[in-house]
Amino acid sequence: MSAPELGTTSLLRYLWRQLTSMRTALILLLLLGIASIPGSIFPQRTQSPLKVRQYFDDDPVGAKWLDRFYLFDVYGSPWFSAIYLLLFISLVGCVLPRSFHYFKEIFKAPPEAPSLLKTMEGFQVIPTSLEKADEWFKKNRFRISRTADSIAAEKGYLRETGNLLFHLSLIVVLLGIAGSSVFGMRGEAIVNVGERFINTPTNYDNLTPGRFFSLESLPTFTIRVNNFSASYDEKTSQALDYKLNVTTKESPNSSEVNQIVKVNKPLTFGSTRVYLQANGYSPLVTVRDSSGSVKFEGPVPFLPQDSNLSSIGAIKVPDMDPQVGFVSSFFPTAARDEVRGGFSSFPELLDPRLLFSVWKGDLNMDDGVPQSIYRIDTNDMERIGLWALSIGESYSFEVGSITFNGVVPWVNLQVVRDPGKQYALIGSILAITGLLISLFIRQRRIWVKEVGGKLEIAGLALNKLPGLEDEIAKMIKEIGDQK
């Protein structure tokens, strides 16, 4: 038996060589394509969490099995990451030695003619001289190497350059993507019209920093949301335009700038950009206890459910005793029919109505589990009322009253810092340029050899693109002695 150490190292070396071969890289790339399919079939948690929940409600057992195989988190799953990581290693392991190889190749003279030209492509024997062939090669800008009785000529070295470019740029792309995820951040914040967003961690509704992004380095800009206008098609409710007016400050002591944000026009602060993501309504309410003192006052963001902005929301008043919550719906243009009951028939505020049921008891807000701001856990509560209000109206219940004062729109701002994106973009453009060059530039060799006063000609198409035979025919036509 061979020594185990030798066995392991040679096995490792063998595996490494397999992993870093071009073939493996290609197979992994294909595998990555196949592995990305399930993510387009099953709803993904990162994109549509509500649909995933629906899946669990409809078929709990099936969904659990799907979840075991990460089919709701395909692009973050261990197996997807494994392919991605292997591809990365394979590319780096393949690219660096290859780049070196290609780099040398670019400057190489063509190898000497094989001893038997007869077996090569387009073989012919013609009556002419070596000198004429030499001249023809030079005129057509072939790179040549000559011996006493033969010439080897090669053209299309750009293909190697393309190859080199492709492989090196891929690393740039991968580094760009990695850079974004470790040095970048993204977060979202709901801001009511009239309020100011100050870029500090506590003002976010959710915030995902990259591993090496320190929250202290959040740029210190502020955005005051002055006005938000949305217009809709009167017949179809389709949105026609969203326009957000803001006043921004780069840092606490820089001057104020008025700006307009649109869906395709984000705000830019250095490498951080702020996008207008979504919009909805916040009803303004005042809640008083039975003695008439104000226990809650202000706008409450509601979550839109459809294109007419029918919204759901929760008004929570933990400061009352007992605690009170309102499980609510809001319709900007209230309508009613047999099938749907109450609903909204248009997204603008034509006839706003706030519907709610009133609950008293324990809101369960102190047990440390983060709660949705749109829902109320009514397990420990008792329903004590049900009503609908128009603007200006009030409703009194057992332990207090609620007044519906008006409505302000809210916008969802998405803040993204993506420092690697330029590298990813430039890298992918260069990589694809390289790929196209290496796929479409014909690299070919032509050899001529003097045998008994005549010339043998043959060639080799290094990438199997057609055209070599025609080229040889043309060469023969131009240099052959017409005897």
């Binding site: 290609l26 993510g39 387009s40 869906v263 790929l435 796929l439 199997k464």
Partner: protein
């Protein structure tokens, strides 16, 4: 003319185009059927396309007129909406059919494509028929996410690529069918009208090699746009995922041809598979899919 007049004009022109393509389809069918003559005495059949020169000419002129009408319909649709007509699936489909027809005509200037006239007119009839009956939406302004000059760049390169992918798929399909015929024996009289396997193979390869860079551009411009509109350049949205898969499949096709020397049957199959992933992306994700590319208006 008012905007709705333009919209009506566009609809009328689509119907005119539909009628003309149907006429062209009939002439091609006539040409196909009557170019095969039976010998009166022996009963042998043989192909003689010189008999049907006239009907072939009629068919191709009618095809040209149909395409002109379709092109005008697309333009009128754009004028009625005051934007490029690429805002919902009805518009993608009529524009896609137009690019397919134009690609067929332009390539027809260089190669004789009259053998492809019959399948092409059938395909266009199918696309336009589906568009009118199932996908039609009145002319309307764009949703805010699409109000960007990237719409023109991204969507027109994607749809243009689609038209040409469809053409190369038709050619690859013809290849596979003729390949089967030839493996069983010699070509029958009907199959004789088609060019040699070799030239079909070359033609479908050339079409792919031509659009692949355009397709790449469509995907990259999508990513640039996504960065501006959605705040990320890549997010594995279903449409993005399938664009990636299609890209990989076509890249494998080119790679297999150039470095591994694939040709003929294997290459034609790979071409068909790659083209199907494009079609799947177009039909399935637009109609039943989810994600952010939900602009089909369905």
């Amino acid at each position: 003319m008012s905007q709705s007049d333009w919209a009506y004009l566009s609809n009328d022109l689509i119907y005119v185009a539909l009628a003309l393509y149907a006429l062209s389809f009939l002439s091609y069918t006539y040409e196909t059927a009557f170019s095969i003559r039976a010998n009166k005495i022996s009963g042998d059949k043989h192909l003689d396309r010189s008999i049907t020169t006239k009907s072939r000419k009629v068919a191709s002129i009618v095809f040209l007129l149909a395409t002109a009408s379709l092109t005008l319909a697309v333009i009128a649709r754009g004028i009625s909406a005051e934007r490029i007509p690429l805002g919902n699936m009805y518009e993608y489909s009529i524009t896609g059919a137009m690019t397919f027809a134009l690609a067929y005509l332009i390539i027809g200037l260089k190669f004789d494509l009259s053998w492809l006239g019959l399948p092409s007119s059938i395909l266009i009839l199918l696309i336009l028929g589906t568009a009118i009956t199932l996908l039609y939406r009145p002319s309307a302004p764009l949703v805010p996410a699409l109000q960007s000059s990237w719409l023109v760049i991204h969507v027109s390169s994607a749809i243009l690529s689609g038209g040409i992918f469809l053409l190369s798929n038709t050619v690859a399909g013809a290849y596979l069918w003729l390949d089967r015929v030839e493996r069983k024996g010699v070509r029958g009289e009907f199959a004789k009208r088609f060019p040699s396997l070799e030239s079909l193979d070359q033609l479908s390869y050339r079409l792919v090699a031509f659009v692949f860079p355009l397709w790449t551009f469509a995907v990259i411009s999508g990513a640039i746009w996504a960065e501006a509109a959605w705040g990320r350049y890549w997010g594995w949205d279903p449409k993005e995922t399938w664009a990636f898969i299609t890209w990989i499949l076509y890249a494998s096709y080119l790679h297999a041809r150039v470095t591994a020397g694939w040709k003929g049957r294997k290459a034609a199959w790979l071409c068909l598979i790659a083209g199907s992933s494009y079609l799947f992306n177009y039909v399935y994700i637009n109609v039943w899919g989810s994600g952010r590319h939900t602009y089909s208006g369905l």
